[in-house]
Symmetry: C2
Subunit: 411 residues, 2 copies
């Protein structure tokens, strides 16, 4: 492992200074190579599917694992899109001349070696590999064991292109030891690894955060709220609530708790129930809300639960302050929304809610790198530092200061 | 402790949204209050000085600890300067309208609760407290035990102003349990603390990095190099080398190793020796360099040592590639310089050296927030993520996305 990490670290200097044009060409070649090896990928994926059956994976997991021609072509196209993104390295973020006449430039540079830990979907291997490559970083990938053969096949296809161009294959590689011990070793190698990105279940993320000495950018849970204020447009509020909960209940930007202002509750709650009934949503309401709708009673645990299912907690609040307080206590700092036409209340909510994304009059479902216009998404960070919220390729860079002098010394 | 941290976390919402004007007024009041309490501070500082004598602190440490009228007034003036810095919160970093018609703004916001661990100099208490306050953060300060009474006095003077304005004193406070156990507890409270900034010895920083679950921005050692290329101006090279080593040998941006191109060595090495002899610098050179100057021989350990003293390692290298390689192996990623008039070589050095600050034809001594023009310095980060190199007050903020819609739902 140490030898592998040394090679990875050494490779990071090569990829960091690779020309923009060359990176683009190689990524396009990688995309072509994925399509050329369609049969090989399907064959290796079939091995994973077979094992998955033996392991009794759920049908949802089996579906995420499965690769057919359409999905493999989509994977290649995603690599093509990444190839054509604007060069993330070398952007001059700021520049000035200081009192000593030094010309100072703050310039984006690759982070170095990035370890990414993820689960099930094999297309992540190609996506993350391509994103790291485009941003000048070495990618050390650790996928789930259920996708072992698929990930290995995809990585080897990308590496084939690297080696054809005399580049070390360590620039995009799978972690050689993919056991729990391997991961534990990786997250402590701050001499060789500059960043760990865990994407997956809460237990994994908690384990990595607690044990890593390498900096971590988490992609954690989303316990998102929508607050319907008393000055909300009724139809808009219902549309947004339905969309935030029902569009895709299993994702991190879906709403888990609906806060309804007690002033508007008598009017809107029955209408909300009607709309959610049509969607088959299970509603769990607090005592006060039960005065207006006949549904299951919510307990305190419900307000701390990311259901990832078509279930919604409902709570009545007296004004924006109570809404903000509830969110501050129960939210995960991911995405929070208010529906209102009141300027002052909207401003208060936007400024006081401490979350990566705060919405007025829109669904939390928009929290997404693609939707934001970042082109490709690395993930949605629940960190506060370095990257927060949807992460585009620019967030895979750091910066350095280049200082141009003509003999200056400090007195 | 938990109760204290809960209060600190709760206070972070208050300070985060405090008006810019109010923050400025309070900081100016704090500065006045420091001057008003000059005698009290001197009295408390005397207790520390007495204990310091009993603990047999070195004269250097005693000097760092000591506060007189001049130093206390300088402390107050530093708080005044921070008061007048440009507001770091609410800067719109980017803004655009996406395909769905959502208006997206990326806006700077406070980080939340920041724990700062530092040593000896009591003025850091006022400085860091003021910097965190100005940037809308709660500061939990843990100074060295040698400055116990001075730090306590300064914190209470700042808190007096907070309480006069009905603000919780936890906004700027000392860690109640300042023992090793207290620190160990603090760095694991990611529910309450958003960032830890350790400033101090290597052992402290290594301990905090290895054990914290809270994100850490390190202020680590500086093992800085200067490389004199064959196309360097001889006089400029000597001036820069002398300045980088001798101006203040005990600081992190001082040079520890001088790399001399073998082509220019016969001409420049005797002249360098003459100049360094005048400064009383102890030179330790590798075998090749010893052919031109008669000094002590350097061993491999020397090239990995941050002397923090008037000692310099010298090594001959064959060209820029060997210089870059040596720096990549032995450097600490802090500040690195080249002296050359060759455009291609300068570009290569600037782009290939992986450090926070890379200089052409200037002394590494310029790595400093004040010199860079940041107004006040939080420290010099040796992290790659979030903040790298000199940290100004803007680096004490993170960002959030504010999204303004008019009823958008995602399809």
């Amino acid at each position: 492992m140490i030898e592998f990490l040394q090679k990875a670290k050494a490779s990071s200097q090569i990829i960091a200074t690779l020309e923009s044009k060359k990176k683009k060409e190689l990524l396009l070649e990688m995309a072509d190579n994925i399509e050329k090896n369609l049969d090989f990928i399907k064959e290796q994926n079939a091995l994973d599917m077979e094992n998955g059956k033996k392991m009794n994976l759920s049908s949802a997991l089996m579906d995420r694992l499965f690769l057919d021609e359409k999905r493999i072509k989509a994977m290649a196209n995603s690599v093509r899109e990444i190839a054509l993104l604007k060069e993330p390295v070398g952007r001059v973020l700021e520049g000035w001349i200081n009192d000593d006449g030094l010309r100072i430039e703050k310039v984006s540079v690759p982070i170095g070696v990035i370890g990414v830990i993820y689960e099930s979907r094999p297309n992540v291997t190609a996506d993350v590999g391509a994103l790291c490559f485009k941003s000048g970083n070495v990618a050390i990938l650790k996928g789930g064991k259920e996708a072992f053969y698929s990930n290995k096949a995809i990585a080897s296809i990308l590496q084939e292109v690297l080696q054809k161009h005399d580049l070390p294959k360590e620039i995009i590689s799978l972690l050689p030891d993919s056991s729990r011990e391997g991961v534990d070793f990786l997250i402590k190698q701050d001499k060789f690894v500059d960043l760990i990105v865990p994407r997956g279940g809460e237990a994994l993320i908690r384990y990595v955060s607690a044990n890593a000495t390498v900096p971590v950018v988490k992609h954690d849970k989303g316990l998102c709220h929508t607050y319907i204020h008393s000055d909300a447009d009724i139809k808009m509020a219902i549309d947004i609530a339905i969309n935030a909960k029902c569009d895709r209940p299993g994702v991190c930007n879906a709403m888990e708790t609906l806060l309804v202002d007690s002033k508007i509750a008598p009017v809107i709650l029955p209408k909300l129930k009607e709309a959610f009934d049509k969607e088959g949503t299970e509603l769990r309401a607090d005592k006060k809300a039960l005065e207006y709708i006949n549904v299951k009673e919510a307990n305190e645990k419900d307000f701390d639960t990311e259901y990832l299912a078509n279930i919604l907690s409902i709570k009545l609040v007296d004004g924006v302050n109570e809404a903000i307080e509830h969110i501050s206590k129960h939210g995960s700092g991911h995405s929070e929304a208010i529906v209102t036409n009141n300027y002052e209340v909207a401003e208060k909510f936007l400024n006081s809610v401490d979350a990566a994304c705060v919405y007025v009059n829109a669904s939390t479902r928009f929290t997404d790198g693609g939707v934001f216009g970042f082109g490709a998404e690395v993930g949605i960070s629940t960190n506060k530092l370095h990257a927060r919220g949807p992460m585009g390729i620019n967030e895979l860079t750091t910066y350095k200061f280049k200082i141009y002098g003509n003999g200056q010394i400090r007195n």
